[in-house]
Point group: C2
Chain length 351, copies 2
């Protein structure tokens, strides 16, 4: 058991979803920062911008015209990293030069017709519509594709090149590295302990209450014990759920609630529209639909880049790239100190 | 075999050092970029700055005074992520809350007394002194510690908070995730093929000549077949060498040469002092010194963040964090198109 009063020394923690370790240096926030300072997120995005290809009624790069949508809006990525018809590269005979065919589709989904809102600012029923669309996409693309990755890059700091609220969906005929690893870890845990890893984990965290950020009757958002990014969170249902399309109507309403609460807390933390990358992991689809996936539990990962303030991020560089992830404060410090919502007024938030 | 003329479609490539795949989307550089633009690297760093804690004779945060060094200069990191005396956290009985003791040391090594030089601009004999010091550190810290990670974060874009040319050395009583994975992969390959993975790889690349950036009689720098960062390179000796302290005098001179050539090419690429994180991987040390490490081959990884220009980087975000690394052009495109050193004048470079 980690003594939560030892904030002077480092230790390692195990990430059971990735079978890796993170170096937790509880004392490293003390070092002064003279490095790069980021531009804070844009504060005044116009609600409608005639040049923004994501706004209703506007024309995109390929000449297509967006509908005059008033809820969510889905279209094919105009510059897809995955296309359905890529040729098979064949394979070199040498084991060090292995290639494989990759086929898929990339879609973009606008959350709302307005550019100046985010999920935290949208009405609950508007967020439910986003969730319903996610569920539809997993259902539809999942009939063909083995993996359907829903993700949101939010903020210029996270490589997002358009301020309009949107996410992406990349579906592929292969299981990417991260879900492949997570599948392996969850399967091994299930075989050994007879219960899904993330179900046992959620129960433990709900009891311990040391890292819980928000909880509702159906959902839990925690700073995972093995978090690598300073304000990383894990969002998961309390019930055993394989995929987002398996959520009941009530659970979708509950998800909209907890997402709004979590994202409002994030926004309040440094009093900016909080940047992050997030994404959903659930049981694989396509050929896996008929297999036993009891070891899986639906969850979302939130990976926010900031460390010290709205303009100073955590750099995952030299040691992290070459050796191992390292964090500068404990997940418990994060939870105690910073999720207290100092400025609930800013976003007229819920916390 | 990948057809190098197919620049319209994606495929997967296998990274045998990490047992992972990368999605290579040969056509994605065509998409326009409206996202974040970085500050270009500082152009006029003063040779000596009385407030820079890394300059000769200056006082550091902890009150210590640097010597009036005229070559390399080594000191303990004033805010170390690893300390030699951290207590054992003990371990929770639960498999989802595992922690372990982490002990180690963190050192900083200045390459040169002047703040306005980089390895590419230093004299060859000055670079040899850096290599000799790296070898000494592996030798000395390696008697105690299982892993000694030498790495350089160069440029503010890579989280480097001081423009003075320097690297870091973090030594630990544990094998971090990345070298642990690399150890496993190299071992399995050796057992199956009877020769070290990276020796076979270097021979293949030297023959194919499709991805070689610089080669000398003793060394090879290639854009690996499985590169994830756009301008990533792998630097390795042609002879079987376990650790940097095993290099002969001639090989150290040769390493200084190829490093200067490689880094000059990088600098010329976008006509800036090129940012990157780099680090050395060699056979583990400490308790591993007496074990069989024949499967290991010494090598350095260079991970530069830039994609399109001096100010537009590749964002490894949503899909990359949640699913799998993805690149926007092939390693062969990088090599053919951009390592041709359009502007050799700028840094009075070697290429
Ligand atoms: O030690 P530095 O240079 O202050 O810090 C930099 O390198 C470290 C090791 O890669 C990272 O953990 C930090 O996030 C980064 O800012
Ligand atoms: O597709 P976008 O938003 O233009 O691009 C962004 O997300 C992609 C998926 O995570 C990344 O590969 C790109 O590097 C990033 O800039």
């Amino acid at each position: 058991a980690i003594s939560s009063t030892d904030n002077e020394h480092q230790h390692l923690r195990y990430n059971p979803l990735r079978d890796t370790w993170v170096l937790v240096s509880a004392h490293r926030m003390k070092r002064p920062w003279a490095g790069q300072v980021e531009k804070p997120p844009e504060e005044h995005t116009p609600r409608y911008d005639p040049r923004n290809p994501l706004c209703p009624g506007n024309t995109r790069a390929n000449g297509e015209v967006n509908s005059d949508y008033d809820s969510t809006f889905l279209f094919e990525n105009d510059f897809p990293a995955l296309q359905p018809d890529a040729p098979d590269p064949g394979s070199d005979q040498h084991p060090l030069f292995q290639s494989k065919v990759a086929r898929g589709v990339c879609k973009v989904m606008c959350f709302h017709p307005w550019s100046d809102v985010t999920l935290s600012l949208m009405k609950k029923q508007e967020v439910v519509k986003v969730i319903d669309k996610w569920a539809e996409l997993i259902e539809e693309l999942g009939t063909t594709y083995l993996w359907v990755q829903i993700f949101e890059n939010k903020g210029a700091m996270m490589g997002c090149s358009n301020p309009h609220p949107h996410c992406q969906v990349w579906a592929s005929n292969f299981l990417p590295n991260e879900p492949a690893l997570s599948d392996r870890c969850q399967r091994a845990y299930y075989q050994k302990h007879g219960e899904p890893l993330l179900l046992q984990y959620a129960k433990q965290e709900a009891e311990k209450k040391e890292r819980v950020v928000v909880e509702t009757s159906d959902w839990l958002a925690v700073v995972p014990y093995w978090a690598t990014w300073p304000y990383q969170t894990l969002l998961l249902p309390r019930r055993h759920v394989l995929r987002i399309n398996d959520l009941t109507t009530e659970e979708r309403e509950g998800l909209a609630d907890i997402m709004k609460q979590l994202l409002t807390k994030y926004d309040n933390l440094f009093e900016i529209s909080f940047p992050y990358s997030m994404g959903w992991h659930g049981a694989p689809t396509g050929p896996h639909l008929n297999k036993d996936n009891s070891h899986w539990q639906l969850h979302a990962h939130y990976y926010p880049p900031l460390l010290r303030s709205a303009t100073v991020k955590k750099f995952m560089v030299g040691y992290e790239m070459l050796a191992q992830d390292q964090r500068d404060l404990t997940p418990e410090q994060v939870n105690n100190v910073t999720y207290t919502c100092a400025n609930p007024a800013l976003y007229k938030g819920l916390c």
